[in-house]
Symmetry: D2
Subunit: 366 residues, 4 copies
């Protein structure tokens, strides 16, 4: 599996290029009996979809997913689930410049070196278009987790360029084009993005995802810790350069007395750990953060080399997100759902008969 | 494989508890013909070994590794390599307090909930003692990578509590008890650690690892990107709460013009990406950073619950590192070596016949 | 991966039911640069296709495969390859009998018990229809193996019911509806099948596959031996109940002097081993045999139980092969190609730099 | 994992050569809470142990297994279990002949070609000595399966050279040196083996394994069928050349009416399928058969080539089993236990909440 399969028991294998016929995937290991239709998956696809606001790429894709198998009379059968999304807006374009030069900050150069050739149309396999299938597959996981365990997964932008959100009110998060939970920042965000677009530049972002009602005991000690698998999942999203659990890099300057989450019979006092201890879920909320780089596809000229290794200048025209972090929000949610689903099945496999011999401590004292 | 196997083609499967008879592992997939003996692995084990300075745990372990198989007449045969390290200093101790209560910030609570029982002696499987085998296995990978590709892997402390290093001079990194590459900070570090110990507290740290002479083309697009697998590896080290490649979380506030590493025929102008584009190595240096939390084993009383779920206070006596980040340096190096080795074999499997059709760009313009 | 992914480096993940919208799959790990189009895959699909002779099921499927990704400008890119075959002949039918009873010898009962529900239309996922995608994926492997190593894979019927083939002449194998390499048996086969059909019964078969020009050194010692993985692949084909390498079950009565394949500088004297020693290919021809049971879908009434556990009688009407062994020939070839391709990449990963230090012995003295 | 790891959720990774320091392994994924000590594993090791009868190799190994981890206060903890067996009888020997020539029928030639070097002492990794660890690991699986599900696994010799057993009475199977369940054949077996030894020759054998009280629903459709994974496991045992489920190769000549196992509310009428339909267990007894070739280590001279590719003659002196099939009996049991354990955990992972909606049919009408 050269990198296109994710997970161990609940798996997703994907295919498809930005400008090919279609993208798709196979979800394997889904428990049978889950009520499922395309309508369950479309809302998250629509959240990720390009062309929905003036702050994302102008490419318009319907992103309509079809479930090709694994569902019978409205329920999952336990068989593998085929997913397909046709590419509709493969705008014909002049690729001559991209074809012969390497865009700095892109996968152009590394793909060419690794494979000896590359599908230069819109980035081919390296395009974020591939993540639409992750969102569809994550939707299946989300539904199972919510219906069977009450797990809720919520993503949002916690910083965009210099603008940090200061308040979390999820009643507005999905109602603005930035997945921003802080109403007081919406105007600033809009102004910032407008200026950025005018400038022809791009900017980074910090995306956060939380999950609540997590069953205790998910995650494997040592290598396949829950947090290690979350880090793998998130760092595997295009443009992500950093991943944190709980307090993340703030722990560097913390003391032991400050960091350790003390416990009372009424619940944990704090959640610096972000819901994971020793690689295993505590039942507290999962708190995950990630840093996304500014997209390198900008309309300001940059220095590079061409395919012969000679100096060149390049401007990436076309329809690109000035802040790829925004649309990463539903992708990050989907990846977290896939990790949780996989670990849930793994945990049931090994430990379904376990009596923990000790009470469950509430997630928090609230 | 419930979390105790790492890698896909070059794999490490480990076993062993802190206070059991021995810890050990199986390294599988090593190419044949590599000259190998215990002497090649011992130096890194000695760097990780507890009891070597007054700033790490007082536990004394010889940490002498034995190669049980896979080497014949001084060379690897291609068969699996058995590694064994006996536990020698399993000091008899009173575990009654730890046995019945959950240390805040530890895996005690999650192990008990997941498995219904736990080996409470010294943390059992959750102890960092397990990482000694990773260091031994990483030593095999390091040797192969160096001899066949010239790859050099170097770890160091880049911040300890409030003290940030400002200069990198690796001629001193391995000659001080902090793996600190900045001579001007050694006195401050020593003073800080002395105060911390007196206080009975612990502190976090930032560990960095770089690797040079990286072959171009390592890493798989989409899920098993080189950076995603590095994140998995590093977040799987005890106490790690965050992982960054290149500029990491600094990218949040960067613009596209600032972040993209421009290219010239003489080399890349910058390395904000940390050596990976689109999940694939660029040939530039790998730059990896991680945040380690302060150990929760401190001698300042904390609030917790006992096994019956009732309120309790707990002090963790015993021999513990006030800053676990320090000894994590050789562990992080080993994990990076394992990831690189695995991806090297994967790359050779799929792409050994590829002609890249384009020149290699030097890592930097120096 | 709940059983729908095959292989480790060169992988196939499949989906799709007999009477769903489509069947499909993802091939991952294909080396880049292989010239590939649908035309390369269609011939084997046509060989497997139902409705091509009066001795296979009357179901008519065009079985036209579409390559959805992973190929650009006529060559594989190294990215995952999406394959899709639409189901066209999902004849509307009365499933009420099959729905409520378990056909003896079928997967009906076990699917219901394992999953709590099942797609009863034409067997759903347990239908041999699923194997069409294996044939398409195997076609990719076959092409790579042939173009890069000269490997040829050839399957045939070596016994059908009581009729054993006695002569192998592959110039006729693909020109008769039985994949029979012995012209002298064609009349007997035709008569036997005609009688069988009249009787409303079915019969078993023995299928053989050979592969020539096998590179030396494929296969991993211990668990993932080449022969072990071939056994896994073949026993994973619908209706297979036995697998043999080389002399197979005849070895039970052989003596050591008789079985061991002696060696001369001009080549091996014999090939009792079937091309594998110690789990690793010798360079001799691979000789694989398998036994396929008679299909249980027959029009002679059988005793069973219904979904409430009560006695019932059942006749399986519909369009079924009286000898499923016949159409298994291209499937077995495809599975062998997938195994060889996977082990080729694995071998290159670990051993691409090996100098064997000893001459290659020719496959045979001819 | 280059072939030295077996299984997906319940895994065994092994190491060790015939004449090295020790052999060992890591068992991962064992459910916690299983009472376990070395005493549970030793009986099967003693059954496999060489030197226990005059009909097996004269090599004497205590084969005392040590559990190095994963067990605390007499119970498994859920952590990985380290197993170690020291090699004690590594008789010093003259290997000059074996070193420079390839024994026909051995892995000598293929190991040399694949790896460029080999551990020629006693066959190194290709020696059946490696299987001792499989037997130890299988003992853990056997105990879990028996205590939690009542599963019993029983192996025996069903044919040795020309002598076929005709009666199965398992009260004597483990009380004779042949694992023969037919008392009337014991004298013939003893005479045959005595003659064979005198002749300096070896002979093949057929080994059978049955398992009873199998839970319904084990096995995954398509590639990882229960029978496919059993075939993988058995063909991965040294010297095995064929594997059958149920009627095996007899199905070739069977008709559908004859083969299909009809069902009544009181149980299945027959068990031609050997306990698996559509890759999933029916609850009937598992019936597995395998063919083992005669060992090639015989004291009758054979033709071969030396390491320079020149003609040579070779006699394999030393301590070898004239019929390796005999000692394969406990190995085959162990491998079946490992497969069942793995599929049990996989099944629990995906389907632990399933209500089958239909009664369980008894395994047979008895």
């Amino acid at each position: 599996m050269s990198g296109n399969t994710f997970g161990k028991l609940f798996t997703l294998s994907t295919f498809g290029e930005s400008h090919g016929i279609a993208i798709g995937g196979v979800v394997d290991g889904c428990p049978p009996g889950l009520a499922l239709s395309e309508d369950d998956l479309q809302p998250d696809l629509d959240r990720r979809r390009p062309g929905t606001s003036k702050f994302t790429t102008a490419r318009r894709e319907a992103d309509e997913v079809t479930i090709l198998s694994g569902v019978f009379e409205g329920k999952t059968t336990g068989a593998s689930i085929g997913l397909l999304i046709k590419n509709t807006d493969q705008r014909s374009q002049d690729y001559s410049k991209i074809k012969d030069s390497f865009r700095p900050g892109h996968a152009d150069y590394t793909y060419q070196q690794k494979f000896g050739l590359r599908d230069y149309r819109g980035g081919g396999r390296s395009s974020a278009r591939e993540t639409a299938i992750r969102v569809a597959a994550g939707g299946i996981a989300k539904k199972y987790l919510k219906e069977n365990y009450g797990i809720e997964i919520m993503g949002y932008i916690s910083q965009l360029g210099p603008i940090k959100i200061e308040k979390i009110d999820h009643t507005i998060t999905n109602d603005n084009p930035f997945f921003c939970p802080d109403e007081s920042k919406l105007d600033a965000l809009e102004q910032y993005m407008r200026d950025l677009k005018k400038e022809g530049n791009s900017v980074g972002a910090r995306v956060s995802v939380t999950a609540t009602n997590i069953p205790l005991g998910l995650g494997e000690p040592v290598f396949d810790r829950l947090d290690a698998d979350i880090a793998h999942a998130m760092m595997g999203i295009n443009a992500v350069k950093g991943v944190e659990l709980g307090d993340g890099f703030d722990v560097v300057a913390q003391k032991g007395t400050e960091h350790r989450d003390e416990i009372s019979p009424q619940g944990f006092y704090t959640n610096h750990a972000g819901g994971v201890l020793g690689g295993i879920s505590t039942g507290q909320d999962l708190l995950v953060h990630m840093a996304l780089k500014p997209t390198s596809s900008i309309s300001i000229s940059g220095r590079t080399v061409d395919i012969k290794g000679e100096s060149a200048d390049i401007i990436t025209k076309g329809r690109h997100d000035p802040c790829v972090g925004i649309r990463a929000v539903p992708i990050a949610e989907a990846m977290l759902a896939l990790v949780l689903m996989d670990h849930l099945l793994r945990h049931r496999g090994q430990n379904s008969n376990v009596d923990s011999q000790t009470p469950h401590i509430p997630a928090s004292r609230d």
